[in-house]
Structure formats: C-alpha cells, structure tokens
C-alpha cells in the first residue's frame, strides 16, 4: 500500500512537472544547457568575467602575494643568518670567558705563590732575628753567671781566711796572715 502511494505520488509529480514546464514561463524544458539561445549571453559575460579576474589577479593580487612570499623568504633567510651569527658570537663570548677564567686562575696561583714566598721570607728573617737575640741573651746571661760565680769564689776565700785565722787564734796559736792565706789557697785549690 505504501509503495503504491509512493509511485502514485512520483507519477503525479512528474506529470505536474511536465505541465508546469509546458506553460510555466521560465521553467526548464529538457536541459537548459542545450538551449543555445542563452549561449551568446553566457559567453559574453564569461569573457567579461575572465578578463576582469585576469586583470585583478595579474595587476594586483599576484604581484602582491609574490612580494609577500619573497619578503617572507627573505626575512626567514635573514633571521637564520642572524641566528647563526649570534650563535658564533655566543661561542666567541664563551671562549673569551673560559680564557679569562683560566687567566684569572693562573694569576691567582701566581699571587698565592708570591704571597707564600714573601711570608716565608719574613718568617725566616724573624726566626733569624729571634735566634740572634736568643744567642745574645744567652751569652750575656752566661757572662753574668760567670761573674756571680767568681764573686762567690772570692767571698768564700775571704770568709775561709778569716774563719781560719779565727780558728787558729781560738786554738791558741798565732798564725801570721800570709801563712793562713797560703794554707787556705792550697786547700781551696785542692778542693
């Protein structure tokens, strides 16, 4: 039933189309493409259109697009060249930096060496001075000690002579001073 209705509808519609084409003003009869009465009109306007488009393109659009593309290609090339140059510069800067670093290190080492040597020299000098002073002081001290010892010996001799004379006197003897002195001296030498 449904299919039947459909075919009816199509048939009727086709009939209607034919009717419309028969008495409708602008409706198509067959292929409008083969209605040669419209060809001069289409060909005329086509040629006008193509000439207009050709002039718009060849005079305005294409030179403009070509220049934009060329400019872009130029810009890109320049940018790449500039980038290359900057890279080289960066490389140079890095080299210079490394060189400077190495120089600074060498200089620092040299300065450290110099300072060490100077300090060593000063130290040596101070040591020598101190040694000399110590030696001088030692000598002085030894001399003082020797003096003190000599004085002490003299005092002992004197005391011994006096004591000996006193002892002799106390024992009831009399001794002359020179005899006592000789005796003391010979004793002290023996001691």
């Amino acid at each position: 039933m449904a299919g039947n209705t459909d075919t009816h509808a199509v048939a009727e519609a086709g009939h209607g189309a034919a009717d419309a084409a028969a008495h409708g003003g602008g409706d198509a009869v067959g292929m409008p493409q083969l209605d040669f009465s419209s060809w001069p009109n289409q060909i005329f306007w086509l040629i006008v259109t193509l000439v207009v488009i050709y002039f718009i393109l060849s005079r305005v659009a294409l030179p403009r697009i070509a220049s934009v593309l060329a400019e872009r290609a130029g810009t890109v090339t320049n940018d790449i060249a500039a980038a290359e140059e900057l890279k080289l510069k960066a490389q140079e800067a890095e080299d210079a930096y490394n060189q400077a670093l190495a120089d600074a290190r060498a200089e620092a080492n040299r300065i450290i060496g110099e300072a060490k040597a100077e300090i060593q020299a000063e130290l040596d000098e101070a040591n020598a001075k101190a040694d000399a002073e110590i030696a001088a002081r030692t000598a002085e001290s030894e001399k003082a000690i020797a003096d003190i010892r000599a004085n002490a010996v003299a005092s002992v001799e004197e005391v011994a002579k006096a004591t000996a004379a006193e002892i002799v006197a106390a024992l009831g003897g009399s001794a002359d001073a020179s005899t006592v002195d000789d005796a003391v001296q010979s004793q002290m030498k023996g001691a």
Binding site: A2, T5, D6, H8, A9, V10, A11, E12, A13, G14, G16, A17, A20, A21, G25, G26, D27, A28, G30, M31, P32, Q33, L34, D35, S37, S38, W39, P40, N41, Q42, I43, F44, W45, L46, I47, V48, T49, L50, V52, I53, Y54, I56, L57, S58, V60, A61, L62, R64, I65, A66, S67, V68, L69, E71, R72, T75
Partner: protein, 258 residues
C-alpha cells in the same frame, strides 16, 4: 483518491536551477547577449569573492599572515607549484592565466553550492569556452614556439615505424577530443550533482502529504546532506582536474617531443 490530492504538492523541477533568465523584467523576456541575467549576477559574485580573498585578504601584506591571507597564499602556492611541476619551469609565464582559470572555476563551483544559487560552471557554454581557450592557447603556443616541429607531438618516434601512422591518427583524434572531454567533464559533474540534490529535495516535503513521508523525508534529508558533502568535494576536485589538465596540455605545447 486521497493520494491524488496530496501529490499536487510534490514538485520535481531538477533542471529549473540551470535556466538562464533575465535578472530584471518579467520571466518571459528574451535573453540577448547583453542582457543582465542570473549568469551575470553569479559571475559578478565570483569576481567579488575572488577579489575578497586575493585582494582584500592580502591587503595587510603581513609577513605573519592572517587566516584569509594564508588561504590566498595557499592557493597561490598550490597552483604555482602545479604549473612548475607539471608543465615545467618555463610554463611559469602562463601562471596568471592558469590561476585565473582555477580561481574562476573553484569559486563558481563553491558559490554554486549555496542554496538557490546559479552554478555558472554547470553550463556547457561556459565550460566549452574555458576548454576552447585552453585548446587554442596550447595549439598556438605550440606552433609559435616550435613551428612545424610541434606536429612531432603526433609522431610517436619511440614506436616502430610501421605503426607510427596509425598512432598518429589516434594521437590527432585524441588531441581534438581533449577540449570536448575537458569541458563536458566539468559541466557534467557540476550539473549531475546539483540535479540529484534537487531530486532528493523534492522528496523531502513528502511527510506533509503522505504517510510514507515518515520514512522518505528523513532518508531524503540524509541523502541531501550526503550529496552536499560529496558535491563540496567534487567542486574542488573538478577545479583541480581542469587546472592540472590545462598544465598537462601546456606541457605538450612547451615540450612537444615524446
């Protein structure tokens, strides 16, 4: 019968869209060569669209392009490379001519896809002139550049001597068939798709008239959508095919030796 009343509403005029009619005045007026018709209107719109894309779109001349400028540059690069690759470096002087053909055809095809539009490239008159222009350009260029040596195009020197005359006849015939196939291919593709869409469209209002419309209407709308997608593809491909064939023929004119 009820169906007869309903069917009055269903109209099939798939070819009406191709009728050339005057833009002003009544429908029955004669179409003279100078009459302003719907052809004039849609060709004018083609010029407007091409200018908008290629002139307005590139007015910034930006090194970093806008979207429209990118499209214009893409079209330029696409056709330039095609001419260079297919027809050779010395064919670049024909580039503005080839680009004009491509832009006209591709814009007309796309504008023709707008509902109620008139598709200028669906007419034999238009495609015949386009194809004849290419044919004449190729033939004249060939003879101007190579003189009688251009006839070597028909003399297949790589074939055995005995069958060369036969091949020559075939080559000559195929050479003269070129503008025919060149024009009918474009016109046929554009006309057929649009007519089919119109036929499907005529089925679409069936739901208002009959019970089967519940099934037919969604199907026809789906079919219209699918056909429209296909036609969008065809619109570009046919412009591409026409242009690349133009380049192939130009190559014959510039380098006729086989």
């Amino acid at each position: 019968m009820a169906t007869e009343e309903h069917s009055e509403g269903l109209v099939f005029h798939p070819m009406d869209q191709f009728v050339v009619k005057p833009l002003f005045g009544s429908a029955g007026d004669p179409v003279h060569w100078y009459t302003i018709t719907n052809v004039t209107l849609w060709m004018f719109l083609t010029i407007v669209a091409i200018s908008a894309l290629l002139v307005l779109g590139t007015r910034g001349r930006a090194v970093i392009p806008t979207k429209l400028q990118s499209v214009a540059e893409l079209a330029y690069g696409f056709i330039y490379k095609m001419v260079e690759d297919v027809a050779g470096r010395d064919a670049v002087r024909f580039f503005p001519y080839v680009f004009t053909l491509f832009m006209f055809i591709v814009m007309s095809n796309f504008l023709g896809l707008l509902p109620t539009a008139f598709t200028t490239t669906s007419h034999l008159a238009v495609t015949v002139i386009l194809a004849l222009a290419v044919f004449l350009t190729v033939t004249i260029t060939g003879f101007v550049l190579h003189g009688s040596k251009f006839l070597g195009l028909f003399w297949v020197s790589s074939a055995p001597l005995a069958i060369r005359p036969v091949l020559a006849v075939i080559e000559v015939i195929s050479y003269f068939v070129r503008p025919v196939s060149h024009s009918i291919r474009l016109m046929g593709n554009m006309m057929a798709g649009h007519a089919v869409i119109k036929v499907f469209a005529a089925f679409a209002p069936l739901i208002l008239l009959s019970g089967v419309g519940v099934l037919v209407t969604p199907l026809s709308i789906l079919a219209i959508t699918a056909m429209y997608a296909l036609e969008t593809l065809v619109a570009f491909i046919q412009a591409y095919v026409f242009t690349i064939l133009t380049c192939v023929y130009l190559k014959d004119a510039l380098h006729p030796s086989h």
